[in-house]
Symmetry: C2
Subunit: 518 residues, 2 copies
């Protein structure tokens, strides 16, 4: 058995049975070995960012990593932004980067480059270059274990071509994740005491604390103590909808987040980090915890956050509580098509079990509020701020969760980074509904320009944020990649097109012409 086959069999044995890939010559033995291992599903992307973002979306829904197969340093570069997003979201990925044969590297051929130095950006804790065919499967099992964490991470395995093609590969047994760290009972007691004390307090929930079990425990704590529930700004995955507790997400804009935090005397971190501004702004604070607010760390992403929340709820003798409805779902919207009317349409139509991949940026501000009474669904956010994540994550989530409708909410500017995702959706027949918010602008940058202190931007500066000249036609772009598409210019059109898309198997896209919200 050659190294490639032993590698793939070992991955499958560890439950890593899907590989998102954009391979080249140095990966051809891996590709050839796919036919020997029918359990491994191979998903082709036309661009590496599709593959890495696909693996991210997949693992968010499976809670188990997929593999990625990339072609040398430039392939890793093309996939880097979405690996960055996965790293920031603590999402497990087994990132396999093919390289030249060991003896070929000395010749500095065209594609030779320092892969390790790029990999360290997204895999600071686990980069390995396999050095023997006999040891390759063991390296792979360790990569899976490293990826699983906790916390989940991107483990990068560099695979020289000759290590892959040589005979002498030997499959090794399944990798297992390390047990999460436990939280000392004393710490739980301290937090319980703090939450019983006077003055406004909040839990800031992150990571798996935003899954159903964690949210229900947090809700018990909130009901028993009056503690407010906050969620990190860009959750990796939050379970939400009718009957589920909805924490208040910290605002993206630091000035609004500061207002949310200002009343607090105690902030308890539960799988989340202390809140900071997304960017720095001249004359404004980066660190957002008020000076007179006590910061208490209950659990980090190294812990079993859901179990810790239950420990805390038990320590407080907090009983189960039902989540009251906040009101009816929105009506189907009519009239002008705006970001708000799209939010209403989503609120009216989002089906049970939907998975929302949210990269709507400024246009998406109304979506969480409008969908809070939709049937239970999962919501996936832009964890690392590197745009071009929404369409690949939707693609990978759909691979991971057949039978669930994926809805990608996508800003026009962001869509263009990894638009190739649509082709993979068509090829794999994935049930993905994409809404493109086409406001013909990097709208968020128009806002940021004034926030960083540029009072009167000139025409050249503004032209760098403007996506007119020429207008993009997302219907044509989508059809060009094999995904049927329609254009909506009124709320009624959007609503009926959304309804049709949700009811039609396979992918489809709606281009929504909306004004910028600002």
């Amino acid at each position: 058995m050659n190294g490639a086959e032993a590698l793939i069999r070992t991955l499958v044995g560890s439950g890593v049975d899907t590989c998102f890939m954009n391979p080249g010559t140095s990966e051809m033995h891996f590709v050839a070995a796919l036919d020997a291992v029918p359990e491994m599903r191979a998903v082709l992307g036309l661009f590496e960012g599709v593959a890495t973002g696909g693996a991210d979306g997949y693992a968010r829904m499976k809670d188990h990593p997929a593999a990625v197969l990339l072609h040398l340093g430039p392939g890793l570069g093309n996939g880097l932004a979405n690996l960055h997003n996965a790293r920031k979201g603590n999402v497990p990925i087994v990132n396999i980067v093919g390289d030249h044969a060991t003896y070929h590297k000395q010749y500095d051929a065209q594609l030779e480059s320092d892969i390790e130095t790029v990999a360290r950006n997204v895999s600071p804790a686990w980069v390995r270059r396999s050095s023997s065919t006999a040891g390759l499967a063991g390296d792979a099992a360790e990569a899976v274990a490293a990826a699983l964490g906790p916390p989940g991470q991107v483990a990068t395995l560099i695979l020289p071509a000759d290590i892959s093609w040589s005979d002498g590969g030997a499959v090794v047994g399944a990798a297992t994740a390390a047990a999460p760290q436990s939280v000392d009972a004393g710490v739980v007691e301290t937090v319980a005491k703090a939450l019983r004390a006077d003055g406004p307090a909040a839990l800031l929930l992150g990571g798996t604390g935003l899954r159903e079990r964690g949210l229900r425990a947090a809700n018990r704590i909130a009901a028993a103590t009056g503690t407010q529930l906050l969620a990190e700004t860009f959750p990796t995955r939050i379970e939400r909808g009718a009957g589920l507790p909805e924490p208040t997400r910290l605002a993206y804009l630091a000035e609004f987040a500061a207002m949310q935090l200002a009343p607090l005397r105690r902030l308890v971190l539960v799988g989340a980090k202390a809140p900071v501004s997304f960017f720095a702004y001249p004359g404004r604070e980066s660190y957002l915890v008020p000076e007179d607010c006590e910061l208490i760390e209950l659990a980090t992403v190294d812990h079993d956050v859901e179990a810790v929340l239950e420990q805390l709820a038990d320590a407080l003798d907090a009983p189960d509580v039902a989540v009251p409805s906040s009101g009816p779902r929105p009506e189907r919207p009519t009239g002008a098509l705006t970001a708000e009317s799209i939010a209403a349409a989503l609120g009216a139509l989002l089906p049970e079990g939907a998975i929302v991949s949210d990269e709507a940026q400024t246009s998406g501000l109304s979506n969480p509020g409008a969908t809070v009474e939709a049937p239970p669904h999962s919501w996936l956010c832009l964890t690392g701020g590197a745009i071009g994540q929404g369409l690949p994550v939707a693609t990978g989530a759909a691979v991971a969760a057949p039978g669930r409708r994926v809805v990608a909410l996508e800003a026009d500017g962001s869509a263009l980074y990894t638009f190739q995702s649509l082709w993979t959706q068509a090829r794999e027949g994935l049930d993905v509904t994409t809404i493109i918010y086409n406001n013909r602008s990097y709208s968020i940058l128009n806002m940021e320009l004034s926030r960083v202190g540029v009072e009167e931007p000139g025409p050249k500066a503004l032209s760098m944020l403007d996506l007119h000249r020429p207008d993009m036609d997302f219907v044509s772009l989508s059809q060009g990649l094999g995904v049927p598409a329609t254009r909506a210019e009124t709320a009624e059109e959007l609503t009926s097109q959304l309804e049709a898309s949700l009811a039609t198997p396979g992918p489809s896209l709606i281009e929504a012409l909306v004004p910028p919200i600002l």
Copy 2:
């Protein structure tokens, strides 16, 4: 004056007056300062690979760097593949990567990552993080000087947001390139003597040795001594066409390159490296210089290669010689549309002064031969093997050389990595004719699969190299980005569409449906 303005003014003062960019919030002060410096042209790309590849194409035609502006680590990742290509082609680029404010980095915000470690992949010799607003312009001048070389390189300047926005910037004077190394007269004499000796010899020309002055000197040498003229496989820029000496390019396939080199007893390197296989293959040699062939290094890319070639020609007392015609230009092709008939159409129609950006891969094999008697033109190749270079390089070349028609020859698979380039071409009104060779396959990988020893690939492996399911429609894709497009299914259609495109200002695209060549 803030740092950003001092930076831009210093760049302009050093002749770096074009910036290809895809900025974000941390770069907003740079963007705002553009209006204060009208001499700086700003070219927006919808994806970072367009910006970096654009700067590559620009510098190949200008012999002077453009600047690139990218957004933190993920933006650098997205631009990395084309910076890799520039690095391998010794193309100068001033690569500016915005970062968080200095004091903000400690908070590990969403977009925080280790930029330096990524940058080292493409800028092994020059990465600097500016640490003061007063010193920023000096850093920029040094970056320009470093980029200029010789040899040209990617110099990466990391620009923290507060260094950019703070007052206290001071413009510094123009950067100058270091003088190229000179070649000792004794070395030239040794080579002259070797070329006068018996037995087949060749010059392997690379870098600026493939410009007109270098080629004419090489031609004198060849005529005087019977030395064969070879060119590296993927020149950064080669000047060619009627009346110009045409060296034989080393084949991409190592087995063919080995056949080209087998008869030689002496191989003289002139701005090129010793030939090696592009990839390693089981049981085949990577190093291609025959054992009984003497390898002599006359000049590297550190030298003024054209001057060295003239020194050598003079040392040989070699007179000027005219280049005879190799025959008439091809007729306009008729009948079935194939890669060969496209080559004939190019040979028949390529206008004087054209700039060809060649990423046609397997489909392009006949193009050089068919165009050797076309009027003089420049030909730009895939220097680093990282696909997704052709359309951005065409874009940047057109920015650099208004009045010259750019022709992008682009494989379908490669086109999809940086297809966003078309939007920039439309926005800037660039005279670019793009031909997409749509053979609905990663054709080169089908060839490589058998070359690496996979005798009977299975259906899963083959499906990873197949671009059917769904078929891409490049006419729709192009129109979606604002570039008019047509589809050709016969040689006559292709020829008339090409003629029309060449005669029409602005960009246009032709989708050529061709069978794979294998």
